[in-house]
């Protein structure tokens, strides 16, 4: 446990020494919020709240896929990473430390979204729901963290950047994050429950407003978590640093 905190602390130290890294993961969702949510749904309390929740989910997804997918792949290319693998610890403290640090960065990247929602829209939330949403963000980070780790451990860094960019937009759109609840185009409504983004955003919608979660989405979210955990574990074990043929 002590080691988990140590790994998390140094991971954060490295991130915080280059503050632009945190700024980056907060920027895109904040801009999307300003351009799309504020002008179109800003005056409708229910719509603005749900739209903010969607953007929060979007932000959690992109922050995690990128910081793990790209971050892990880049770390693996540095000689420091093989050195840490000669230390007498298994993968658990490093995995857990990285995830703890990632969660902190995820929460930090949500601050601009929440500030915009509170000041520029009519979005409404009770203190109880807000706390519930904070907890939900932790829960829905899990599948995207595992997805990022799978990408980061399985691929070299240049490939990881591309794959992260390729997966994140279809997941956002296909999961219905860019539409109001249950008002996405028909084909999106059909495929959405099978994507991890859908189960995730439904949990956040349910946390912030009057929305009942589709059981299929939740089951599929569980399936995704199990599958991605397996994939991330496999990718870590086969990792021997950089690979040349």
């Amino acid at each position: 446990m002590q080691l988990v905190l140590t790994h998390a602390r140094y991971q954060l130290l490295e991130t915080i020494r280059i503050p632009i890294a945190i700024f980056g993961s907060a920027f895109f969702p904040a801009v999307a919020m300003l351009f799309f949510v504020v002008p179109f749904a800003g005056k409708d309390p229910v719509g603005a709240t749900f739209a903010t929740a969607s953007m929060v989910t979007f932000s959690v997804m992109s922050a995690n896929i990128f910081q793990y997918g790209v971050g892990v792949a880049e770390d693996r290319a540095q000689p420091w990473d093989p050195f840490t693998r000669t230390l007498p610890v298994g993968p658990a403290p490093r995995f857990a430390g990285r995830i703890g640090a990632g969660l902190v960065v995820t929460y930090l990247s949500l601050i601009p979204l929440v500030v915009i929602a509170a000041t520029l829209t009519d979005a409404q939330i009770t203190p109880g729901s807000f706390l519930l949403a904070l907890g939900t963000v932790g829960v829905i980070s899990v599948p995207f963290t595992l997805m990022g780790l799978s990408i980061g451990y399985a691929l070299p860094s240049k490939a990881a950047i591309v794959v992260a960019q390729i997966v994140f937009f279809p997941l956002a759109f296909g999961g219905g994050l860019l539409s109001a609840p249950d008002q996405a185009p028909g084909f999106v409504e059909t495929i959405a429950p099978f994507l991890p983004t859908r189960g995730a955003v439904e949990l956040v919608w349910a946390a912030v407003g009057d929305y009942s979660v589709n059981p299929l989405s939740l089951v599929m979210l569980g399936v995704w978590v199990a599958a991605l955990a397996g994939l991330a574990g496999w990718a870590y074990r086969r990792d021997e640093g950089r690979r040349f043929s």
Binding site: P79, P82, S245
Partner: protein, 294 residues
């Protein structure tokens, strides 16, 4: 007590055979030099022994267990060939981070002073000079009070003074009962530190013996002469032409001189000298890859 053990270990990268059925034992208290040119397979062997890579076939053991099991690495300290310190972290932070993995680490200031880095505690690693980075990377191998230290070309890129300071630190560790496996392509370094040399070339162990024995076993001598045309003679492992002088490297200088006289060729200024370890080592690695008798 064998601390590191490789038994008929091979490792392939795609179609390239980097290690070919290598055997190696490092016993407690030894200081073993792993010598070979670039690409000989030294780093691959080290990476297998410290658990960074898996052998394609054969068996590696560290403290009697699988090196990939963290428990086997509890008494191991490693300096990889490349110095990759996290640039944004401070020197003290890096030491603290590594220390956190061991039950009884050497106190930070004591360790940094021993490696001449006491004044750099607050510096970010990215701002250190190349030599300082290398010294820190070597220092990190000693943090956890290891029994076995594995150093992959520890003094690459260091100036003479820094190299000698590092050698002193390695000798002091060995004098206290520590075991060292160090790779190098500096022969001077292996001769200065090691008692036992393992020569690796083209993925195979060419020789494994004491520094003196390696010299004697290889027994390569340099026969130098001034001659217009060198006849083809048996037993010559290498021929060099430098400034009008011809240098012949051979394992049997006496026979070569007899053959030379018998050939009737006109030569002047004959000289026979023992070779440096470097020449011996070049001779056995560039000649065919038959293992020398040990």
């Amino acid at each position: 007590m064998i601390l590191a053990h490789a038994h008929r270990v091979s490792r392939r990268y795609g179609t390239v055979l980097a290690l070919d059925e290598v055997d190696l034992d490092v016993r407690a208290g030894e200081l073993v030099g792993l010598l070979g040119p670039n690409g000989a397979g030294k780093s691959t062997l080290i990476n297998l022994l410290v658990g960074l890579r898996r052998p394609s076939s054969g068996r590696v053991e560290l403290n009697g267990g699988d090196p990939r099991d963290p428990a086997s690495r509890r008494q191991l300290g490693v300096t990889p060939q490349e110095t990759g310190l996290p640039g944004t972290l401070r020197v003290g932070e890096v030491v603290d981070f590594v220390s956190a993995h061991y039950p009884d680490p050497i106190p930070r200031d004591e360790l940094l002073d021993r490696f001449g880095l006491g004044a750099q505690v607050r510096r970010q690693c990215g701002g250190l000079s190349g030599g300082q980075k290398r010294r820190l990377a070597v220092a990190l191998a000693f943090v956890g009070r290891p029994r076995l230290v594995v150093l992959d070309e520890p003094t690459t890129g260091l100036d003479v003074e820094a190299r000698h300071a590092l050698w002193d630190a390695i000798r002091a560790f060995h004098a206290d009962g520590g075991t060292v496996l160090l790779s190098s392509h500096y022969l001077e370094e292996v001769e200065a530190l090691a008692q036992r040399v393992v020569v690796i070339g083209k993925g195979r162990v060419l020789a494994d013996d004491s520094v003196d024995a390696i010299r004697a076993v290889v027994g390569v001598r340099r026969v130098s002469l001034t001659v217009d045309a060198v006849p083809a003679l048996p037993g010559v492992v290498r021929t060099e032409q430098v400034d009008g002088r011809t240098h012949l490297l051979t394992a049997d200088a006496d026979q070569l001189v007899r053959d030379l006289v018998a050939s009737g060729v006109a030569f002047r200024n004959l000289e026979v000298r023992p070779t440096s370890l470097e020449e011996a080592f070049l001779a056995i690695t560039t000649a065919d890859a038959e293992p020398a008798p040990a």
